[in-house]
Symmetry: C3
Subunit: 255 residues, 3 copies
């Protein structure tokens, strides 16, 4: 049985494998998030691609090691691209669902509900998005129940992150309040989870690893930042320079 104390080592190991294998991570994400997500993936050692064009999305996903589907800025072409991408991914390419802002848009919530049935390995969301998707207040118990019902790992981010696959649940107390002051930070967290899924077959471990990595990088960045502008720059440097000792010393996990 996996103990939470193993997860920091797993996170450090996942980062080492991303740097060694340079997995391709294809992202269907919103225009606000594309540049920052691509730079976060590069900083971690992965190789991002971002096209949503219907003519070529299948080629990109077929060559990818992981896929991120983010619902932000949902336009008709993006819907069609998502459908093609998820079909192409099938069971071979692990994918992450990021139901961004579904609490604010009924058609987006409908799409998220449908996509959640198609077996994403992980769903990364915040509290308001969890309420909209699962119809329940977020807690270790409701996350575990929803993960079981869905067959996907749920990774909830907020002041305290919670990851559950139904049978295993862990809380992560890393990160910094400045993370909420940079747009698309949650989208970038989802992208890093996708990169971890490309190198770590256990989706619970991969999701926890991704959130540990971004949380620890956020703390390192906050120590150098003077506000949200410098923070967004420093978190790229921090993720790029992150070493195993920093990860294992800083990770704060609770069962």
């Amino acid at each position: 049985m996996l103990a939470p104390r193993d997860l920091p080592d797993i996170a450090a190991d996942a980062l080492a494998r991303i740097r060694a294998r340079r997995p391709r991570v294809h992202c269907i994400t919103n225009a606000v998030a594309q540049n920052f997500s691509a730079n976060m993936l590069l900083a971690a050692g992965a190789v991002p691609s971002m096209t949503i064009a219907i003519d070529e999305i299948a080629d990109f996903v077929a060559r990818a090691d992981a896929l991120l589907v983010n619902l932000g800025t949902l336009d008709p072409e993006r819907r069609a691209a998502i459908e093609l991408a998820v079909t192409t991914a099938g069971a071979r390419v692990p994918w992450v669902l990021d139901p961004a802002l579904i609490d604010r848009s009924p058609p987006r919530r409908t799409l998220a509900t449908t996509l959640a049935l198609r077996h994403p390995r992980a769903i990364r969301l915040n509290g308001a998005e969890f309420r909209a998707l699962a119809g329940a207040e977020p807690s270790a118990q409701t996350l575990a129940r929803h993960a079981t019902a869905q067959g996907s790992v749920i990774g909830l981010t907020g002041e305290r992150d919670i990851v559950s696959d139904g049978s295993r649940t862990v809380a992560i107390r890393n990160g910094d309040p400045l993370m909420a002051k940079v747009t698309a930070m949650g989208c970038a967290a989802s992208a890093i989870v996708a990169a971890c899924l490309a190198v770590e077959p256990d989706a619970f471990c991969a999701t926890a690893a991704g959130l540990i990595l971004i949380g620890v990088a956020g703390e390192v960045a906050a120590a150098r930042a003077r506000g949200p502008g410098t923070f967004a720059v420093e978190i790229l440097d921090a993720l790029h320079g992150l070493d195993a000792a920093t990860i294992t010393q800083r990770a704060r996990l609770e069962p």
Copy 2:
């Protein structure tokens, strides 16, 4: 009667209210500007959203406290989204028109002229855009005349900003030349004006407050920057950390 010397206090107060109330500002803006505008809004304390999808734009605008309509990168879906957004906003959600680059594109100018008739609370533009919209050289007199004809506050940015609602006019001498070396800085100024309109019902005061805030933040940033790259980062930190004393000490207004 409002004196220009009251405006710095009004700007400081508007910023305090944005931080306290966290208004939602929905932005229809170009892909170049989306990320930076979202980060500027977050740095000020507002909550940005950016979708232009036709299926959900009405839901987002209905839940917003202010709306920005920027014409940059004008594609067919964006036109339809603008129409829906302005209709949804009606008289309830204050909105800002940013007729970006209408001097370079006849169809964009036509659209701007039509939109200007639908009562935006404020129109934020530069000198070339004012010439294209109003058919006159920008000056305190022509701005006042155009504001009266239009029924909107006009906020002109440049070396010297001028704000007029027809009866009241003020010039603002803040900012830094590096602001012209960062793309989408004008779009971000329009977004900050929208955030001010969400908390300040007097549209003249809100527009002047927004331009004072971004101008003063620009000066604080310039003191730390070594070029346009560091400047774009520092202005986010400066806006995030701006206090009332800095605003009132630095604001340079002329009647």
Copy 3:
């Protein structure tokens, strides 16, 4: 006959002319690259525009001094915009083709092959993209052969950049490994080449100048950076502050 030792002076001169003339550079580029490319062009002294809307692309290109056509994120509207832009450019507006990621997408490669026949002044690409376009391993010989066949200057970027117009070939050993860790750095290099083409009629000199400028700016930035986040900020400052002495001292050329 031009000697490679003349090229650093030509690069410094091209930068001086960009700063003096402020050429308009219209970019059809992907959403990931738009903001950074616009900021790089502004840092160099050029005036960027980025619309891809079919209704107005011809107006923007007709008023531009150079055009960049980048195939990243290829959607149907962008294809139509490219067709209109290249037709409008004709022989009057020099244009650069950036066949981004054609090695990963067959429809994108097909489009690149067609566009390459329409006389771009320069084609800027990396090794994998050259292999996909030319069907050969990249070398001074294959580049020269392809440049002759195509009637375009080929500018290959990588650890060592190579520029050839068929009769003249030069290798440039500038830059820094961090350039590969920032998304859209190649797209930005293509945009800078376009800016050089706006002020330098000899396309071989303009392409080499653009790659020298970005390579030297990259070295200056790397000396101040602690990772890819600070590097992306510092290269904007470096390009903005670049002087002729730094260019001629640092440029490392091989025949």
